[in-house]
Symmetry: C2
Subunit: 331 residues, 2 copies
């Protein structure tokens, strides 16, 4: 069974490329509100669940013990662009737990934000684990390890207390028992657990409104949501989809991108969770799928603010409009 | 009608993403040797036809008049990585025609080759039209404009003598009459004409072996092929698919990548042309599709040299193997 074509990429008068995918929108009871394509096939959520992976940072007591502030909590939920402000926040977060960048196991890459990478090169710098888009998440993991007083060397391993805590959160929020064969290795070396989109959407519905969660967990989720809403630049970076959307809508929308065309989100007031997967892994199409889904679920008055994300324009190196992307009638 | 899934992307034990596409392999008479998916729907060939777009550089007499050498001819066929050697060659080519980089209309972007971009930033440089992956093609177009003694300001426009010459080459090689509505604007601002994959494959079959071409054109094609075979680094760059394949096989294989998942190629000895389009525009999958097609068409003794391209391994930022890509049984 094929997933439907959800996004067309146009050049001139023709469709140049097309993206298939699946979309699940569910409420906090797990009732499907919108289902496109196969939402029961497990997918690796990758970075799209970073806000959920950050729950142990609060629930372990680490955030309070180390006075982790809202910018740092937002960075723990982030796939950041490696801009100078992100690096400062990541360093500060590590320092609070008494460790430094050498404790990070995410691996090094150059900043996603090209001008920041160029500035880094200009200063004679080079790629480090701090610039890795996952360094905030990993700094959060290290805070948890320190608070639990367990060894930090293997914090990325599935058997480590930090990753076991993350897995327990995921299982509880998604109502899925994660079997060992659902586990693969993420880009930053932590486990990524395959889950159906419907279960991911349920997890985000619960995370978004607190329904069905124990009071302490609901409070922790609200604290992370507030941090992301207050500091959306820390969740991604300059010009990025997650940042732009949350800058526009504040606490009304939580969105988080993941590699290979995954996107998760929550509409807290509506009590809805959203999970998207572009079959071919394209982030550009997952963004359009998420924007079109938000546009469908949010009040009509919000649609104009979403339009540039629902139907982005494509320009070439000379700035000439050469085409665009648009959701198909299936969305 | 859906094109078949031709490439799976694996992570751990699961398929994480999948890519659909179409493949056309034809001989110089236009007989189909291998047909996967819809090969009659027109697709924009983008940069995959640069070797064909370079024919006027020789046929106009420009290459001889300006003593354009084989490295420069290879660069005219290139989507180069903007490494220092590419920039030197592009500058030399422009100088031969008595123009400089200010005449280029391709637009500026940072080098594709990340270390070269970092070195450029370190030296206080910035992105220029010379670093644009198309600067060799554009330098070739400028040589043609100079040789024809026509104005150079509008050389990227469809009505300009250079682009009319390119269009005539395409129509003749592909046996397709290009209607105005087949025209869109490429990333570097020149026209890109939509053609069926079957027609693109025919054009490359003819370009690859000279069959069905006038003697002068067959000679020009042979000269461009020889230039690419002798200087594959100039056709792409360090570590790139086109370069690596042509370094391995020399004059036996011509391959050329294009944006949005297009790939063209020729097997001169076999008299075959190849055209590939990944539906979703992913270059990573188009490479696997091309490698798998070559592996199917070439002698069994050549398959080991293709294996790393047919089934590439995926590693994360720590160098850990996290998955890989592989062609499906459909290829």
């Amino acid at each position: 069974m094929s997933n439907p074509i959800l996004v067309d990429v146009l050049r001139g008068s023709r469709v140049e490329s097309r993206h298939r995918g699946a979309v699940a929108v569910v409420d906090a009871d797990g009732h499907g509100v919108l289902t496109l394509g196969d939402v029961e096939r497990p997918v690796y959520p990758r970075s799209a669940i970073k806000p959920l992976q950050a729950l142990p940072l609060i629930e372990s007591g680490a955030a309070d013990r180390y006075a982790v502030g809202p910018e740092e909590l937002a960075l723990a939920c982030a796939s950041h662009s490696g801009e100078p402000g992100h690096i400062i926040t990541a360093k500060r977060m590590l320092a609070r737990a008494g460790v430094d960048a050498s404790a990070l196991k995410c691996g090094a890459h150059w900043p996603i934000h090209q001008p920041s990478g160029q500035a880094l090169a200009r200063e004679g710098g080079s790629a480090s684990a701090l610039h890795n888009n996952c360094s905030g998440k990993h700094a959060g993991f290290l805070c948890v390890a320190c608070a639990l007083d367990v060894e930090r060397e293997t914090y990325v391993e599935p058997a480590h207390a930090v990753q076991r805590a993350v897995k327990a959160v995921l299982e509880s929020l998604s109502a899925v028992t994660l079997a060992p064969d659902a586990c693969a290795i993420d880009g930053c070396s932590v486990p990524t657990w395959a889950l159906p989109l419907s279960a991911l959407a349920l997890a985000f519905a619960r995370f978004g409104c607190g329904a069905g969660l124990a009071p302490e967990r609901a409070k922790a989720a609200a604290r992370l949501r507030a941090a992301c809403a207050a500091h959306p630049w820390h969740v991604a970076g300059t010009g990025r989809f997650c940042t732009e959307i949350m800058q526009r809508f504040g606490a009304r929308v939580l969105v988080k991108t993941g590699a290979e065309g995954v996107f998760c989100g929550a509409l807290p007031a509506e009590g809805l969770g959203i999970a998207v997967k572009c079959d071919d892994g394209a982030g550009r199409a997952a963004e359009v799928m998420m924007a079109a889904t938000l546009s469908r679920l949010m009040p009509a008055a919000d649609r104009p603010a979403l339009e540039t994300f629902v139907r982005p324009t494509l320009r070439n190196w000379n700035g000439i409009v050469v085409g665009g992307m648009r959701p198909t009638d299936a969305v």
